[in-house]
Subunit: 336 residues, 2 copies
DNA sequence: TTGTATGCGTTATCAC
DNA sequence: GTGATAACGCATACAA
């Protein structure tokens, strides 16, 4: 049975209120009393009971981070950064893996954890638009651009523009047959839609013909999907001389297929990805990519949540959209 | 203000005890009452208050998983699998990133979260031996082999034997100058020590001379360390014709350096890693490796913890060590 | 089978 | 500056 406020109070010869004051850094405590209480706390190894505290204050000091999957290096990195940012506010982060399942995401938004978490940072995959607003009362910050302007804050890079930048880079290399890997059909695939739009805009801007046969669809954004999509692309009549992949994993998979089939990268086909995960810095060839300012995204997400959680004036302001910078990173896979 | 037991009871015209019974699936409730209560629960959207429940039962339904870093694909995968396994017991997993910092690991073991979590699954990096037993009362399952036999359960593969298997594979290829990347000096680097021991055993078993100059030390197990270590190895007088890397990230970094310097893999240097992360299946060349049965490790870790947590007879048994299988996966990087 | 009453460890409102 | 005491929402011993 761990010691409680009561035990500390008894040992220090004061009331529990005084101990509580000391624990919570209340200022109006005489130095003498404070010292005595502190001594008792140390001696007993007192640790405040989180449950009791939460029951009273309705605050758990825990925020949830919901991502589609931790296996994806981008989300893993994001998770690590958010944990770090949260730590500076002494928040604990509960990481939730949705596996992109609509039902799980819905539960999250509905607030099935309502009592347990103070806020939610959410990177939705299966949910979009209004469904995201059927929310409980838990403050939420969305990661990734939304087309719809709902009641939640969100922070993201300009996906469409970033995709256009990547595509422009390929066109600027003199490539005339620029393919895309990563298109998705379902309505909630906002990221895929936006990157496709950026790709198309840049293609047309370069005076190239829009060719649907150069666009490969994928189920998910994994290496295996990229590999399969690339194989399909190579089957088609018009063979591309460049590929924009909607994320780095797709690109790494695509490169694998190309090399396997004796196609040189970047000489025959230039490949660019998206996310700037660490893998791309050590692959052969190293991977050109679009680098979002992930550290900044993480920091801003936590900051926005903190503002909502604070009882300050900003807590009830209109939802904000924060745009974060991205930059092009040119490496071997397009440096031909 | 979310509804409580009281509100549900009022609406259903019963006492809170009855509602509580229904919520907790107590069997002796008349079908009629149960239906009425359930209706009220649904209508009000009642969700039990986790804090209050925990205050009473001293159980939070949350277990912590502490890993050095989520960015590492192996730990990310492990985390995902453990979350899945825990889900089947309706446990929530709180993921803690220690960054390999001794202080953080110490806090964990000391139980600074004591009140908040029911159990801990821990993959220590900076702590070893006795320090791991200075534990609180929170049940703990250790991931990764320990030399010392402390008071906690642990589940792991036979690191030494697995490392020997990898090295034997290289020797079996006829390579005579087999290097190792991943040695570490500090005492708590149990994994590195064991893999080095396995490597050495296999080297001597093959009748090769033990050459300390073929062993490269690393700070951490990242791609960059592998790349740097390989570069150092190439500088030394005796150039290796094979390398056993203590994990896949090191191997991928090493391969990058080799290819960059025009050394062919596997023709000139065969490379094998450890962990079987997804990257290795799509890299060029694809990566030979030792594959631990990670899914089984995850499942067993959760099972062991469950036994400790259960109030059954097994709860106070002596600590168990569970050994999990591994297998060699031969891919292009050694298939020369 | 169901209801009443008590306490889990805190914080917060009042007195003193 | 400090102490007594009432909640917070739930589970459960005990009664009915």
């Amino acid at each position: 049975m761990p010691p409680g406020l009561k035990d500390v109070a008894a040992r220090a010869g004061v009331s529990i209120k005084t101990v509580s004051n000391v624990v919570n850094g209340y200022t109006h405590v005489s130095a003498d009393t404070r010292a005595r209480v502190q001594e008792a706390i140390d001696a007993l190894g007192y640790i405040p009971n989180a449950a009791a505290r939460q029951l009273r204050t309705r605050r758990s000091g825990v925020i949830a981070l919901a991502v589609p999957e931790l296996q994806s290096p981008y989300f893993a990195e994001m998770a690590g950064l958010i944990v770090q940012a949260a730590e500076r506010r002494s928040w604990t982060v509960l990481i939730d893996q949705t596996d992109g399942q609509a039902e799980r995401e819905r539960n999250l938004v509905a607030g099935l954890r309502r009592h347990a978490i103070d806020g939610l940072i959410f990177s939705p995959l299966a949910l979009a638009g209004e469904e995201l607003s059927r929310g409980g009362d838990t403050p939420m910050v969305l990661l990734g651009e939304r087309v719809w302007h709902g009641p939640a804050d969100h922070v993201a890079i300009d996906n469409t523009e970033a995709a256009a930048d990547a595509t422009r880079h390929l066109c600027g290399l003199g490539r005339r047959s620029v393919a895309a890997i990563g298109a998705q059909d379902f309505a909630s695939a906002v990221t895929a839609h936006q990157r496709l739009a950026g790709y198309r805009a840049a293609i047309e801007e370069a005076g190239l013909a829009w060719d649907p046969l150069l666009v490969a669809r994928v189920e998910r954004f994994h290496r295996a999907d990229g590999a399969a999509a690339m194989a399909a692309l190579l089957q088609r009549p018009r063979r591309p001389d460049a590929v924009f992949c909607f994320n780095d994993l797709l690109a790494l998979g695509a490169i694998r297929t190309l090399l396997e089939q004796g196609v040189r990268v970047p000489e025959d086909v230039a490949v660019i990805g998206f996310d700037d995960i660490e893998d791309g810095r050590f692959s052969t060839p190293t991977l050109s990519t679009v680098a979002p300012d992930t550290a900044r995204i993480a920091r801003l997400a936590v900051d926005l949540l903190a503002e909502r959680l604070g009882d300050g004036p900003a807590a009830s302001d209109a939802p904000r959209e924060v745009r974060v910078a991205h930059r092009l990173v040119v490496r071997e896979s397009t440096a031909g």
